[in-house]
């Protein structure tokens, strides 16, 4: 399933970042695959080395992959509304398993129902996520924050 990555690295590649590993996946029992493929394509195009775990990824699968490739960040997607359950305790689990400083992003339709994004953002920041994104976020701007946050943590 590589057609969307055909054009990878053709534009906007940032050589400084080419060695920066990030883990990407859709958490929990969520099967929304389309956005995941697109995020992969864009971040790869922006010069990240993306390990894409696809859909239905558990917290431990994210952490296993991050340890394996020495990732600077984990990007968690949740589209189906169970984010409040699936994403809880992730920061604690990262710390338990030795990833104290890893950058942790989360984005998507994180809760059931239409709520003010600012409210959702606070809730997930309180859970220990560094940044929280709505489903409409421009992925290139995510890439920019990601670069800065990873550098700042190192």
């Amino acid at each position: 399933m590589n057609y969307l990555t055909k054009n990878r690295r053709t534009q906007g590649a940032n050589e400084d970042m080419s060695e920066t590993n990030v883990i990407l996946g859709v958490i929990g029992s969520d099967c929304h695959a389309v956005g995941n493929k697109i995020i992969d394509t864009v971040l790869t195009g922006e010069g990240f080395r993306v390990t894409n775990l696809g859909v239905m990824v558990s917290q431990d699968e994210f952490i296993d992959a991050a340890i394996e490739v020495g990732a600077g960040a984990i990007l968690v997607s949740s589209i189906y509304g169970h984010g409040e359950i699936d994403c809880a305790g992730f920061r604690g689990r990262c710390i338990e398993r030795g990833l104290e400083d890893i950058v942790l992003y989360v984005g998507g339709n994180l809760v059931i129902g239409k709520r003010e994004f600012s409210e959702v953002e606070s809730m997930f920041k309180d859970m220990g996520y560094d940044r929280v994104f709505p489903p409409t976020v421009d992925i290139k701007s995510v890439a920019q924050s990601l670069r800065q946050d990873i550098v700042a943590r190192q």
Partner: protein
């Protein structure tokens, strides 16, 4: 268990059944004979098949929302709130139940009770069990369908059908490839043979349960022939197990002529294949899904997308339409937003239903194109299966002959790449390993080339990505700006 398209015999079914009802604590309450009696006690007005048959006779398009929350009383309130604005009711099942994660669903119920609001994206019917499900059915006056996305939906079927739900969505392909990651296709097909056989048993006892394969698949630029092939295969598999009332589905592509051609060809092709397989005694209807891809956040714009789907459904003559809400971009809607989607749909259906979309050479051409594509692919499926459509399906998916774009399942090739043409119809950019005739491929290539020329750029995966997000960004076609 070896997969074949053959009606499950009673012994196989019954021994399997013992395992199924033991797989979660609520299973033990199900008694098939008592379920049949309960189903017989329902009035005609609560039977899905009867309401569909009447609509089909009158040429009406019925309205059905999606809706489901964690707790029973709240679920009942939600459906009662929507009941007046629609013709058919759903119970949308939560994502944990879909993966048989009943413990997680239990946690979701507990946390929802504590939070005073649903933290699940649907109704966990298995956890609530037979009696609570009956309470749902008994609180409503219209027929209720189970809508989910469950590769192994056997226990869910046992509980909900005995509880008086009269329609059951899903299928071994359509509830695996777009909904699961690593479930082998043989397994989901086999599990759905169980569900279909259960429906067949009810049918044999005089209880008609509607069966609806899930039409839109990944909901993302799926060419009509792809979903039609899956729909017809799942229809054949269901008929073999004794189902008699089949609703085949299709998700709005966005080009009106293509959408109308899709629904019209779907019905004609299904009759063609069902009859060729020797089935004559069945009840066929169609369902049109309003746009299943990304929605605009702006609610006024979302209403426009909803209305475009309602208009296409009515002009195409679909038997029912599945309705979106102005909150679609934000996930699960409030009940008010859900009703607004139904109200906008109602108005559109009422303003369009008597109108006739004229036959024209353009529409004919589109219908014939879809038919040729479906016949080519299904011929290969039967060939690969040496005449057995279940075996053929497993092999065809493995070979990339049946290929669903943008699906999460690893068993799916994902080589077929669709893109819109210059009038917004979904065409093929890369056919992958789907065996289409050269002239059909040339047609698609020419249409895509026409668009590329108009946009002064090469057709590429970027064009596809642009198309995926176009409607949420207030365009049908993802043109460069």
């Amino acid at each position: 268990m070896q997969l074949r398209n053959k009606k499950l015999d009673m012994d196989t079914f019954l021994s399997e059944r013992t395992e199924v009802v033991a797989s979660w604590v609520t299973g033990k309450d199900v008694d098939f004979e008592e379920g049949v009696r309960y189903q017989h006690s329902l009035p005609e007005s609560k039977r899905f098949s009867s309401v569909l048959a009447a609509a089909d006779r009158e040429g009406r398009t019925l309205r059905q929302p999606r809706a489901g929350v964690a707790l029973v009383d709240e679920h009942i309130k939600l459906l009662q709130f929507l009941e007046d604005a629609c013709d058919l009711l759903p119970s949308t099942i939560d994502a944990y139940t879909r993966l048989n994660h009943y413990e997680k669903a239990a946690e979701g119920i507990a946390r929802s009770t504590a939070a005073g609001t649903s933290l699940l994206n649907g109704f966990p019917a298995v956890n609530h069990g037979l009696k609570e499900c009956r309470r749902v059915v008994e609180s409503l006056t219209k027929p209720v369908q189970v809508r989910h996305g469950t590769p192994d939906a056997r226990l869910l079927a046992e509980i909900t059908l005995a509880a008086g739900f009269t329609a059951y969505e899903g299928g071994g392909i359509s509830y695996n490839i777009p909904y699961a990651k690593k479930v082998p296709l043989e397994r989901s097909l086999r599990h759905w043979q169980y569900c279909d056989r259960l429906v067949g048993f009810y049918e044999e006892r005089g209880v008609r349960i509607n069966r609806e394969p899930f039409g839109p698949l990944s909901g993302t630029l799926v060419p009509p022939f792809v979903s039609h092939c899956v729909a017809i295969i799942e229809g054949l598999l269901a008929l073999e197990q004794g189902c008699k009332c089949i609703t085949l589905g299709y998700g709005q592509a966005g080009n009106l002529v293509q959408d109308i051609a899709a629904i019209r060809s779907l019905r004609e092709l299904a009759n063609e294949y069902f009859q060729a397989a020797g089935f004559t005694d069945y009840q066929l209807s169609t369902v049109f899904h309003q746009w299943m891809g990304g929605f605009p956040e702006n609610e006024a714009m979302a209403f426009s997308v909803i209305c475009s789907g309602a208009a296409a459904a009515a002009l195409a003559g679909a038997t029912k339409v599945i309705v979106k809400t102005p909150h679609e971009a934000s996930g699960v809607p409030t009940k008010e937003a859900n009703k607004q989607g139904l109200e906008a749909t109602t108005q559109t259906l009422n303003m369009v239903r008597e109108q006739i979309f004229p036959m024209s050479p353009t529409l004919d051409q589109e219908i014939e194109l879809i038919k040729r594509e479906v016949r080519c692919v299904l011929a290969k499926v039967f060939e690969l299966g040496e005449g057995d459509v279940a075996i053929g399906t497993v092999r065809a998916v493995a070979a990339g002959v049946l290929d669903v774009p943008f699906a999460p399942a690893t068993c799916n090739a994902g080589k077929l790449l669709p893109v819109r043409d210059n009038v917004g119809a979904v065409r093929i950019f890369d056919a992958g390993r789907v065996p289409l005739p050269d002239d059909v491929l040339t047609f698609h290539r020419d249409r895509v080339a026409e668009r590329a020329k108009a946009e002064k750029r090469e057709a590429s995966s970027q064009m596809v990505v642009d198309d995926i997000y176009a409607i949420s960004k207030s365009r049908l076609i993802g043109r460069p700006r």
